[in-house]
């Protein structure tokens, strides 16, 4: 009796059936379990994705361009170091300027003394009093005239 082409072909590959069964079972377990878990949780494996996120970022973002990232980090370190140095500079300059500030205070004292000398014309050394009522001030001005 003649065999159909289908039968001839299947006979050739009958040995692979054990492996095909194993593949079928594996796919059913893996794929359908994953699909069902995704359907039950609404969004597929969100918690798992969050847990894996740092690792994925490291693997996909940093590790492939690690030299570039290292270069950038080094550049930032240099910038920060330069920034610190420039901050220390004015501070030390301030420490050194104590002489300059003493000159300033001497100058200010001299100015005060000059003002005091000039103040002989005006009523001297009296600290400016609290503002008086307007009526008093008028009397005072009249007395001066």
């Amino acid at each position: 009796m003649n065999k159909t082409p289908r039968e001839i072909l299947f006979e050739r590959h009958r040995d692979a059936e054990g492996q095909l069964d194993a593949i079928r079972e594996r796919v059913l377990v893996q794929e359908l379990t994953a699909t069902r878990a995704g359907a039950e949780h609404g969004s597929p494996d969100v918690a798992q994705l969050l847990v894996q996120l740092p690792g994925r970022i490291w693997r996909e973002l940093f590790w492939p361009c690690r030299r570039i990232w290292a270069g950038l980090a080094a550049a930032w370190l240099v910038i920060i170091a330069i920034n610190f140095q420039s901050l220390e500079g004015p501070a030390s300059a301030q420490g050194g300027s104590s002489g300059a500030s003493s000159v300033f205070w001497t100058f200010l004292a001299e100015q005060n003394r000059l003002l005091a000398e000039l103040g002989d014309v005006a009523p001297p050394q009296q600290p400016p009093a609290a503002p008086r009522p307007r009526s008093d001030r008028r009397e005072f001005n009249r007395a001066r005239c």
Partner: protein, 184 residues
């Protein structure tokens, strides 16, 4: 028509709903035909098993895209065919005979009697199948194994019906030559 009759009874709707038993039945039904088809095209056991696994995985993942449940079989074979093409493209030019190469032979379209293969010739043809170039082998296998229609074969191989007819015609011609040579 075995495939057509069976496809109506296949639990595709249940599979779409995620029923594992339905998937089990579908995979059981198609695992050997798919493997046979793929093996005859790629001629490597491990690669064929890998392709069948990928086809099953893709089927579970993308079954929602299948509009006509009755075309589940041809859809599955379509995935397998694409995987085989990908496999051919990985091979060096001498080994991976271009599936596209025979896509333009449909100009002199053969008559139906030329592309149909007689039942008497089938067994002989099947034994010499390996000697055909992959594009012709592919259409012949789809014709023999699942008894797909020309339209279905055209859909699976993503070619025009005229091209499928030509390939069948040339396959038949080549096989006849091979058989005659062996007899003489």
């Amino acid at each position: 028509m075995l495939a057509v009759a069976e496809s109506k009874e296949l639990p595709v709707r249940e599979a779409k709903a995620g029923d594992p038993e339905a998937w089990n039945r579908l995979f059981q039904r198609y695992q050997l035909p798919l493997y046979s088809y793929v093996f005859e095209l790629v001629r490597d056991e491990q690669t064929s098993l890998d392709i069948v696994q990928e086809v099953f995985i893709n089927a579970v993942r993308y079954v929602d895209r299948l509009r006509d449940d009755g075309k589940f079989g041809s859809w599955l074979f379509g995935i397998a065919h694409q995987k085989c093409i990908q496999q051919w493209r990985k091979l060096p030019r001498e080994e991976g005979i271009g599936i596209e190469e025979l896509g333009s032979v449909s100009d002199d379209e053969p008559s139906p009697s030329e592309w149909l293969i007689n039942k008497e010739q089938e067994e002989e043809f099947m034994l010499q199948l390996n000697q055909l170039p992959p594009p012709q082998r592919s259409v012949l296998l789809l014709h023999f194994v699942e008894d797909f229609s020309l339209e279905e074969i055209a859909g699976i191989t993503m070619t025009a019906i005229g091209t499928v007819k030509s390939r069948l015609h040339y396959a038949r011609k080549s096989l006849r030559k091979i058989i005659e040579k062996e007899r003489s």
